[in-house]
Point group: C2
Chain length 365, copies 2
């Protein structure tokens, strides 16, 4: 037997730009012209975003091949939609010199990012998020993917955007429930990384809920800075990136066990209360810290308890199938204090006994 060794060259470090503003959507097309002059564009959006007028604002009367996902929402986040998009790109005679522009919420970003990742072995994507969730979270970090008939994000790729444009003016058309649920990830960013940011949210809740543009721009800047810093440290989610899963162990389980009747942010709100209760049980926190978090979430109008008809057993059962579970029991991200994640032996996701979790779930009823 003979052996050879083939080097896989490391890709060189690059960076991408995040532009944040109010009313910048109309100038995104020209801004992209400079950086991607040689690329032909393909726009991906969904029926809701198009109906809200944002597609017209982006295009400014220009003609560009566009795919409008219909219906908008999670039900279209599947491999069939990606296949339809890739075939639409082929019918538009697009090649490897294509630039995908993803205009919409988290679902559009996930679908379009994944389509870009696998079209002719990968073309760049510009993310233009239009929801509180996507602007705070999903547009940054390079996670893309769609569901199979069996599970969520069964298909996916890490595919970093070539640029991100955040126009907080697009949030004005977002329905109230989506707007509020998406803010939960902002609260999470304060909790895991920046006490000053958490206090800013606490003291500006009225302006946030009034959708004051300046305040929303400040939120976007905090969110992108925090998420960007975490992703830079750990792009492929080996360890540190797990801090972003604060509230997600119970949150994901509540979301799935409730058959996705709650929005993602709503379920994560319940999950963050669960994490806070675990912190109290373990002596990492006093109840007054949890009260501060609960007050913010209540003001946002998101749930802070389990939905009435959801049994704790069902939540436990889903947690045991968590994709990050070890020996069928998940790990938890917990806080030492607001702005600082608890770390044990270098690990940010730690073990918590089943008895404690069961007790906490009972308190969430």
């Amino acid at each position: 037997m003979q052996e050879l060794h083939i080097k896989v060259p490391g890709t060189s470090e690059t960076s991408y730009r995040i532009a944040i503003g109010s009313g910048l959507l109309g100038s995104v097309w020209s801004a992209v012209d400079m950086a991607f002059a040689k690329c032909r564009r393909f726009v991906i959006t969904d029926a809701s975003v198009a109906a809200a007028g944002h597609l017209n604002t982006l295009l400014q009367g220009r003609d560009a091949p566009t795919y409008v996902i219909h219906p908008a929402g999670e039900q279209s986040k599947n491999i069939d939609t990606v296949v339809a998009i890739v075939e639409a790109m082929e019918r538009a005679y697009l090649g490897r010199d294509t630039l995908v522009m993803a205009l919409g919420g988290g679902t559009v970003g996930d679908i379009a990012g994944f389509a870009a990742a696998i079209f002719k072995r990968g073309v760049p994507v510009v993310q233009i998020p239009t929801t509180t969730l996507a602007q705070a979270d999903s547009a940054i970090g390079g996670k893309t993917g769609v569901d199979s008939s069996i599970s969520k994000n069964a298909f996916g790729a890490f595919w970093h955007p070539a640029a991100v444009f955040i126009d907080v003016a697009t949030l004005q058309t977002l329905d109230e429930r989506q707007f509020r649920a998406g803010l939960v990830e902002s609260v999470k960013h304060g909790l895991i990384a920046d006490q000053g940011y958490f206090e800013f949210i606490e003291t500006h809740l009225d302006a946030i809920l009034d959708r004051d543009m300046n305040t929303l721009e400040t939120l976007a800047r905090y969110n992108c800075t925090i998420k960007g810093r975490v992703v830079e440290e750990d792009p492929l989610e080996k360890n540190e990136r797990r801090v972003l899963n604060y509230g997600h162990t119970v949150g994901h389980a509540v979301e799935a066990a409730g058959d996705y009747a709650l929005l993602h942010g709503e379920a994560i709100a319940v999950g963050m209360i669960a994490a806070g209760l675990i912190e109290v049980e373990l002596g990492l926190s006093k109840p007054d810290r949890l009260d501060r978090v609960r007050r913010v979430l209540e003001k946002l109008g998101v749930p802070v308890k389990l939905p009435p008809h959801l049994a704790e057993d069902r939540v436990i059962d889903v947690m045991r199938h968590d994709k990050k579970a070890v020996d069928q029991w998940p790990r938890f991200v917990l806080l030492d204090q607001i702005g600082q994640v608890h770390c044990e032996n270098g690990q940010y996701a730690v073990q918590v006994g089943r008895k404690i979790v069961e007790k906490v779930l009972t308190k969430l009823k």
Copy 2:
């Protein structure tokens, strides 16, 4: 407007092992045990390879979740097969700790490599090629992909293997036409990179066609060394990797214009003769060099002329749609001498006037 910049960290340089031997298939499973102890395996192969007994040799009586592509061949190289594979992996309760083992020819490697690239945002793949084509070419280099209903390799990813195991004994069961066609890429490697290798093939044609194991091992070592070196220099096909497309401009067009009646290697043989004729026209070569190449290909029993019913116009038309075409006219890789590619202004794919190409196609009738 505010701006932030997010770093995308460069991945660190890694390498993968290529093991070459005769009769090593039965020990691949244990060899992988050491390097990927924590991974659960999923085997992907096709009906022909399984029928030839190679799947049993790999498994050695072990039980492992396996997907057998049926029917074998290009007609299964599509996104539906990849979806079926990913769903089979989910039904086997596999997660991110999966290792895909791809056992088969180029089609199996392309499908399985792509499935690994997109399963839960990417899991490693071990390539175990069983054809002359896959052992010489497609198992190394990280190109994966499948066809859409509209074009070839519309879906794909660059996904380098975690290891490659080449057992030349698996070539004993390959049908004669496939065996011979796959050797054309070996001839190409000699022509573009190593005069000594070309001369080795010239002088060992009888042993090669007798499938002498030692000779086939020598070929594998030459092929992997040459392809590995080119891919290391240019993993994403920006320039130097294009030398691997020698014979492919006309070859691909002949393959497509003839509705894939010719095997890939057979079409590339015609394309290499076309490239040789262009070299003579441009004064890069004397006819005796082309005669040497033609003698080798004729001994291999692959075509050295256009198929009788294929019109030159049809070939020209397909070339104008080549994905690497500029202004609807493709570039050509040409040789200065055996073992050395012609380079103009740092480019390995050069312009050739249409009149010359038309004249050469006439000579290929």
